[in-house]
């Protein structure tokens, strides 16, 4: 049940989750209780200085995964470990106060993740002040430079900044406290296409110069490919495929991953009159048992309906959970 192969040895990882289950109980309108499985038996690890892309669509559990790894949400079952200074911290048992020294989060919506009424300077200075850091001004200057924001903006209020600038400030805020591991939850989703590239470049540069590890959550596959070293594809709370980003894109194994890649827009106006062939059924249905993807899978076999496939290593570093293999 527990896959050790891709978890990595103790000396290798910065974050690892084992058999993570996050279930919510929801009561329907007439108190019909049902369980929502946001994450179902996820085992994953992120190496030091690695950017792990977590790709999934709505309902995949990707946001929950990010939040659980930094202690913002408690899992229903399973273990989460963060490794800093050669020590292993059990996130479940630790207090948020202690974990927050090593982790940070970049949120999706730049308009609500930074209080617009604050001064830009205060946004970066407050966390440093409460961590009792010295040399605050220098650290702030450095962070502003890393995210390519002019120092004059420090005098402004956040509401005077554009969405793109606020998102860069969001990154600055996360890196100014010098964490080891950062969860970036769809940081480019709300930005125009012309601004996405900048954000990705900033994250790449930050990793280069400061050695942060990232979990980069997104639903846009090409963005994940550009920024990530490895990609984990999530579907309805399960990791269906895991591998290096180049591998996943060039040689997708799971039908869901294949479907995603096939359906992604290519810039070819000459194809516009034709209907795009979409092999995967549109409506998301969660089955009672068996493979989660079975109801939509074009390659479904009888076995898929009964038994849940496990993550298997097909080629070095490339794992897939599918009965086709």
């Amino acid at each position: 049940m527990v896959m050790r192969l891709h978890v990595g040895s103790i000396s290798d990882y910065i974050v690892k989750v084992e058999n993570l289950k996050v279930y919510f109980t929801k009561s329907g309108i007439f108190s019909k209780k049902y369980i929502v499985k946001a994450l179902d038996n996820v085992t994953l690890s992120i190496k030091e200085k690695e950017v792990m892309g977590v790709v999934g669509e709505s309902g995949s559990g990707k946001t929950t995964l990010g939040r659980v790894t930094i202690g913002l949400q408690k899992p229903t079952a399973g273990n989460i470990y963060i490794r800093v200074d050669k020590r292993e911290i059990n996130v479940n048992k630790a207090k948020l106060k202690d974990i927050s020294k090593y982790v940070q989060m970049i949120y999706q919506d730049p308009y609500s993740s930074i209080d617009p009424i604050m001064r830009v300077y205060d946004v970066l200075a407050m966390p440093l002040k409460y961590k009792k850091e010295i040399d605050i001004d220098r650290k702030i200057e450095e962070a502003m430079r890393l995210v390519d924001l002019p120092l004059e903006l420090l005098e402004n209020r956040v509401y005077q900044l554009s969405g793109g600038q606020r998102q860069r400030l969001s990154i600055a805020r996360a890196i100014v406290v010098n964490p080891k591991y950062i969860v970036a939850d769809e940081p480019t989703t709300m930005l125009d296409a012309s601004l996405k590239g900048e954000i990705l470049k900033i994250i790449k540069d930050a990793r280069e110069s400061k050695g942060f590890s990232f979990m980069f959550i997104t639903h846009e596959l090409p963005i994940a490919k550009i920024i990530s070293d490895r990609i984990a594809v999530l579907y309805l709370g399960k990791v269906v495929e895991l591998g290096s980003s180049n591998e996943i894109i060039k040689n997708p194994l799971h039908p869901y991953t294949q479907g995603l890649i096939e359906v992604y827009p290519r810039i070819d106006p000459s194809l516009r009159d034709k209907m795009k062939e979409i092999k995967i059924k549109v409506d998301i249905v969660r089955p009672e048992r068996g493979c989660v993807f079975y109801p939509r899978c074009p390659f479904a076999m009888p076995k898929c309906k009964e038994q849940e496939p496990e993550l298997k290593e097909i080629s070095p570093g490339h794992y897939v959970a599918c009965w086709l293999y």
């Binding site: 125009d192 296409a193 012309s194 590239g197 490919k225 550009i226 359906v263 795009k276 998301i284």
Partner: protein, 312 residues
């Protein structure tokens, strides 16, 4: 020409000043065409859609220009006539998913029937609802549900169904697929293509996501800071763009075969105080002296492309 927009100006009267959201825009739409209105946030593309529907929100006002529907200037009509004869009957609009056109307290079916009733449509309501749902590839059973019981994709398709209720000739789709998963997105694009085929529906597709337009539109208008920078057939826009803005935007599309994506540095100018000369001058890598002095005029090329740029 089914729809022609000439010299449209839409200004917003705010405390900061007059924001010229749409400043002298020309476009046209032929029957059975799908055109794209593309641009970054704040370029004015959505405002054009609202202007055609005469739904420009306060404090905006249509300050000039004409919108000709089959030759008749619909801006000159009084509100009552426009509402009775054009809005929703000849021209309908689908909004971004989060601004759902449905109220949560009534079933989808009832809300569509309400639309039919208000516009004096006679006939079998239930049959029409069933027809509409089949048209958008949805199980008519879903019409019995409340909006919150549907997924994002289903809600959006239901909204399209409602927009088609009175058989309009033009459908304005304002960011119809944002916030939807990629697969659902593609399904909706297929749906729009099908509607164009079967109903000869003409569609104005407004979006900031150029990738979508490359898959569906015949012609595109590239909007920036309230003005059209370039317009032409999709083949030209995507394969051989002339305007620097267009080519930078096309280059910033993230496709699976790219390893880096470039962006466009800087940000859109303040529309209450637009710059002198070409509006793109602060961000254009090819800007020259004249770009800061005079606004370039639209120039037409033989391949159907029209560009407003001093490079040409």
């Amino acid at each position: 020409m089914l729809l022609e927009v000439r010299n449209l100006k839409v200004y917003f009267y705010t405390k900061r000043g007059i924001v010229k959201a749409v400043d002298d825009v020309n476009l046209y739409l032929d029957k059975g065409e799908i055109i794209g209105l593309a641009g970054e946030s704040g370029s004015g593309k959505s405002t054009i859609g609202y202007a055609i529907m005469r739904l420009v929100p306060f404090p905006g006002k249509i300050e000039g220009g004409e919108i000709l529907f089959k030759g008749e200037n619909i801006l000159k009509l009084d509100e009552e006539t426009f509402r009775k004869n054009y809005r929703w009957k000849k021209i309908a609009m689908v909004f971004q998913g989060s601004m759902s056109g449905f109220t949560p307290v009534f079933k989808i079916r009832d809300q569509i029937i309400e639309v039919l009733r208000i516009h004096g449509w006679t006939g079998d309501y239930d049959k029409r609802v069933e027809e509409l749902f089949k048209m958008v590839n949805m199980d008519p059973q879903l019409a019995e549900k409340y909006p919150h019981e549907l997924s994002g994709g289903q809600k959006q398709r239901a909204f399209i169904a409602m927009a088609l209720a009175l058989n309009p000739e033009i459908l304005i789709a304002d960011e119809p697929t944002t916030a939807l998963d990629v697969m659902v997105q593609e399904h909706i694009l297929n749906l729009l293509k099908k509607l164009r085929e079967e109903l000869n529906l003409s569609i104005i597709f407004i979006t900031h996501d150029l990738a979508l337009l490359s898959e569906i539109s015949d012609r595109d208008y590239m909007l920036y800071a309230g003005k059209v920078m370039e317009s032409g057939p999709s083949e030209v826009i995507f394969k051989k763009p002339r305007h620097p803005y267009t080519s930078l935007l096309v280059e910033s599309i993230a496709t699976l075969n790219k390893d880096i994506i470039k962006g466009i540095p800087g940000s859109m100018p303040d529309l209450s105080n637009p710059p002198v000369g070409c509006r793109f001058n602060t961000r254009c890598p090819f800007a020259r002296d004249i770009c800061f002095k005079e606004e370039p005029k639209m120039k037409a090329f033989s391949d159907g492309d029209e560009v407003a740029c001093w490079l040409y």
